[in-house]
């Protein structure tokens, strides 16, 4: 016999103290409440018959004390959690990896695969042997241990209740590595995978994996795989007409049979387009919607079977996207007149352009962006960021123009710079201009062999872009890149990102743009739950596992709120046909056995039950005046 709970010495101490207390209380109980009577002789008449039973009465009291001491002994023993030494050494150590990927949301088994998995796991927990220990972990994009390695059924059952499926794929390789680490040096190690089998390429998973002496068990979940999914969904505004947008999506039929699907596109909750598709077996069908209008913020695509029935996995029947928010930018052009500049600014209807002569600068109104064309007066505080086009030497331009250069082009340029997005600068020829002399912290985004000619940076907290030549002295204004350059620059100043990601993919670490001034932001997931997420280098970092619309709130004065969308977009998770067998590295997973509900080898349970039974007996006998 081994005490798995308190050691014997502690039990003896507890038993001694508690036993002493019981005896003391018992003696105190024997001192009865004194009550006066007017004439005790009358009571003596009644009690005369009871004299003969005094000895029996004392025996009954002794029995009552013995019962209490026995009760105490049972409770103290239960505290010790006594176990047979034989069973201690032979107990199993089990790590259960529960697949909580998106495919486990499938409803081919009722109510859902994840619910059935939980039921099976709960049954295993109930059938756990007295000396067996189990660790439960949820396996999706990340691995979440939900319990410690424990034989406590209530703890394990609580862990089972916490399991929920996410909109990500399962990472079995990571789960197995975790399980092997947890089972290192433990006896009778066992890994049980409860899954529908869609856990990735078994060969890839088995690479470099050594299960050692751990037994691999597999509990398959699911019975069919009828599913049609939206596997890609993306939207973007047109750079030159941001009121319009185009959508790309992909619908995949994961069945072995053809299917008719009705695809609906919703913009801001209103139906934008409904299309009926006929899809062949295992066909992936991309669809493009060009030149759409009518939605300003949210887009949602949904599919359903044309016959009105539902497939087995509703989670991938929806996809979400969010377009960048549009706001009208106030632009001030300080110029003596520039037709090419005017033409470029006319392309974007969301620009509110004001043109003034250099002598009228600074204006009284506030502006987001100021374009200085051939001039560079001292920058006023109310005119926002600045684009300088060929600033004169000796003026107040942030980057000092150096010596004149002629007949040059762009030999190097930063293709990742938002200012130069979609622009090929290599063909531009410039007749004359100035080499720029940027400061160390400035960013040269375009240069010829003769020196920097396009520089971006920040002065006094305000951003600028400076071009070292007059565009009219080049063929730049005749190219399509010119208006893009102007609009890109304005967009980068007003932080309207035309390269905005319309949606993130679940199961990946998202880096959501956020004001770099904050260190922590609040993320509201599609279910309405709030999460605190760190902000690093202007990006909020979060591992998302739910599809839908999210809201990011960055504290500040005022708080900055932005929205984004997340989608499953995973063909492998949409293939929900269950796998009956799991084989890794040549080792075939066997069925999970040895769980027999109702058989417990934990003696403390029986001791506790005995104590309760004794209490009941004592209670009944007390009230029936048997033990008093």
């Amino acid at each position: 016999m081994i005490f798995a709970g308190f050691p014997l010495s502690t039990l003896l101490t507890i038993g001694g103290i508690a036993g002493g207390l019981v005896v003391v209380f018992y003696i105190l109980k024997l001192r009865r409440r004194p009550v006066a009577v007017p004439f005790s002789r009358i009571w003596q008449r009644i009690l005369r018959d009871k004299e003969a039973t005094t000895l029996f009465s004392q025996l009954k009291r002794l029995l009552s004390l013995l019962l209490q001491l026995l009760l105490l002994a049972l409770l103290v023993l239960a505290l010790g959690d006594p176990r047979l030494s034989r069973s201690i050494t032979k107990g199993r150590n089990i790590v259960v990896l529960v697949d909580a990927s998106a495919s486990m949301k499938a409803t081919d088994v009722k109510p859902s695969r994840i619910a059935v998995a939980k039921q099976k796991l709960a049954k295993m927990v109930r059938g756990l042997g007295g000396s067996d220990r189990m660790l439960i972990a949820q396996m999706d994009a990340s691995l979440r241990p939900l319990s410690t390695m424990s034989g406590d059924v209530s703890n394990l059952q609580a862990a089972v209740e916490q399991i929920h499926a996410s909109d990500t794929r399962a990472d079995l390789a990571r789960g197995l590595r975790f399980a092997l680490d947890s089972l290192r040096d433990l006896w009778r190690p066992e890994i049980i995978v409860i899954s529908d089998g869609e856990v990735g390429d078994p060969k890839e998973i088995a690479r470099g994996l050594d299960l050692g002496n751990a037994d691999l068990r597999y509990v398959p979940i699911g019975k069919s795989g009828k599913n049609v999914a939206i596997t890609r969904f993306s939207v973007r505004r047109y750079p030159l007409d941001k009121s319009r947008y185009e959508v790309m999506l992909e619908v995949t039929n994961t069945n072995d049979k053809p299917v008719d699907v009705e695809l609906t596109l919703l913009g801001d909750g209103q139906v934008v387009d409904v299309t009926r598709l006929h899809m062949g077996p295992n066909e992936r069908l991309p669809r493009f919607y060009k030149d759409l209008a009518g939605a300003s913020r949210t887009l949602e695509a949904t599919i359903k079977l044309a016959d009105g029935q539902h497939d087995d996995l509703p989670a991938d029947d929806h996809a979400y996207a969010l377009m960048p928010e549009r706001r009208r930018a106030r632009v001030l052009a300080v110029t003596h007149g520039n037709t090419y500049l005017d033409a470029a600014l006319l392309l974007d209807e969301y620009l509110d352009v004001t043109e003034i002569a250099p002598s009228k600068y600074p204006p009284k109104e506030n502006f987001d962006v100021t374009i200085f064309d051939g001039v560079a007066p001292p920058l006023s505080t109310n005119t926002g960021s600045a684009l300088y086009l060929d600033p004169p030497d000796g003026a107040s331009a942030p980057v000092k123009p150096g010596h004149s250069i002629d007949m040059f082009g762009f030999d190097v340029w930063d293709k990742k710079s938002p200012v130069l997005r979609w622009i090929d600068m290599g063909d531009i020829q410039v007749a004359e201009g100035h080499k720029l002399e940027p400061a160390r912290e400035d960013h040269v985004i375009g240069a010829s062999v003769k020196g920097p000619v396009l520089v971006a940076g920040r002065r006094n907290g305000r951003r600028f872009v400076e071009l070292g030549f007059d565009p009219r002295q080049s063929d730049f204004v005749l190219r399509v890149g010119w208006p893009l350059f102007v609009l890109n620059t304005i967009n980068s100043f007003v932080e309207e990102d035309t390269g905005y990601l319309s949606s993130y993919r679940t199961g990946e670490v998202w880096r959501i743009p956020a004001p770099s001034t904050a260190e922590v932001a609040t993320l509201v997931d599609p279910a309405g739950h709030k999460h605190r997420v760190p902000v690093k280098e202007g990006r909020a970092v979060y591992l998302g596992d739910q599809a839908g619309f999210y809201k990011l709130i960055v504290p500040g004065e005022p708080p900055v709120t932005s929205m984004f969308a997340a989608n499953l977009s995973d063909v492998s998770e949409s293939r929900i046909k269950p796998v009956d067998k799991l084989e890794l590295g040549g080792q075939k997973a066997t069925a999970a056995l040895g769980f027999h509900a109702g058989v417990r080898r934990e003696l403390w349970l029986y001791l506790l039950f005995g104590a309760i039974l004794l209490s009941l007996v004592e209670w009944v006998t007390y009230h029936r005046r048997v033990t008093v």
């Binding site: 409440r33 004194p34 006066a36 009577v37 004439f39 005790s40 009358i42 009571w43 009644i46 005046r625």
Partner: protein, 316 residues
């Protein structure tokens, strides 16, 4: 409460510790009570009209006006009492005997033991009210009234008095009594009879909770030529004690202890035993021709007094 007080309380007798010394009630004989007494006095005259007079007949033969008997003439007898009619008819000289008239002595013996003050002290109050009421009736009829308080001895004694005007003295005396001490009717009544040579009515007002037995006390009165009347003070609540579970009972007078477990069955037995005890008292009194009047504390004292009158025999 000082340490000394705690020590005194701890070392005090159980009955005193448990607070059985009944607080005195100043309103025991209030105006209302006195009005009722007056009413009772009037009612008593009407009920016993013609028979009850200010004077009382005794068994002594003497010079009264009521004819009692004849006896043979012996030399020296007063000729005036020779019944000449008898002599004319039968030729025998017989002398007429008349009952001698004298005022009656009434003794009210009030039990002042602790058991009389048990609980809320209703028994002791009832006993004193009854003593006062009957004493007033006696005083109103020009009897000689004496009141004594007894426990295991004569604890208080009021000198014999007569006349209605002395009722306040009786009130004062009764107010001064308190229920404290054990009951021993035999010893205390032996003292009583030794102190009172003049025989008369002895009205014993008691709950008769005498550990030595109530019979001995009543017999002392009987054997010493007193005419005992028993007014048995009864508190029905004592038949239904509010006890339950494991308790240690002790006698409020003797302190005798006993550990018991009170059950419903035992309470029922207690009720029967209490009733049997009352029955024993009544049987004893009836067997020995001692007038017995149960006086329930739930019944008002004036109703009880009238009941005593109506049963008759209390006043001849």
């Amino acid at each position: 409460m000082s340490v000394l007080d705690v020590f005194k309380r701890a070392t005090a007798p159980v009955s005193r510790r448990m607070g059985f010394v009944r607080p005195e009630r100043a309103e025991l004989f209030d105006d209302e009570f006195q009005k009722k007494l007056e009413t009772l006095a009037i009612v008593s005259r009407r009920v016993f009209a013609g028979r009850l007079r200010a004077d009382r007949r005794t068994k002594k033969k003497g010079s009264g006006v009521e004819f009692a008997d004849h006896r043979d003439y012996v030399p020296g007898d007063d000729f005036r009492y020779v019944d000449w009619n008898i002599y004319q008819r039968f030729g025998r000289l017989l002398v007429r005997l008349y009952e001698e008239e004298e005022d009656l002595s009434i003794y009210f013996i009030v039990d002042c033991s602790t058991s009389m003050g048990f609980g809320d002290g209703r028994k002791f109050d009832q006993a004193r009210r009854l003593a006062a009421a009957l004493a007033y009736v006696g005083l109103a009829n020009l009897d000689r009234v004496t009141i004594v308080g007894v426990s295991d001895e004569v604890v208080a004694r009021m000198p014999t008095t007569r006349g209605k005007g002395r009722i306040f003295k009786i009130f004062q005396f009764l107010r001064g009594l308190s229920p404290d001490g054990t009951t021993n009717l035999e010893d205390s009544l032996k003292t009583f009879v030794a102190q009172h040579k003049r025989r008369g009515l002895a009205v014993l007002i008691s709950d008769l909770y005498d550990p030595a037995g109530f019979e001995a006390g009543i017999n002392v009165l009987r054997y010493n030529k007193f005419e005992p009347y028993v007014l048995h003070i009864i508190d029905p609540k004592e038949a239904h004690p509010k006890l339950k579970g494991d308790v240690r009972i002790y006698d409020c007078e003797t302190g005798e202890e006993r550990e018991i477990t009170v059950t419903q069955k035992m309470l029922e037995k207690m009720e029967r035993a209490w009733s049997e005890y009352q029955g024993e008292i009544e049987r004893f009194c009836t067997t020995h021709q001692v007038p017995y009047f149960p006086a329930d504390v739930e019944v008002s004292f004036d109703e009880l007094v009238l009941r005593v009158f109506r049963r008759g025999g209390f006043l001849r």
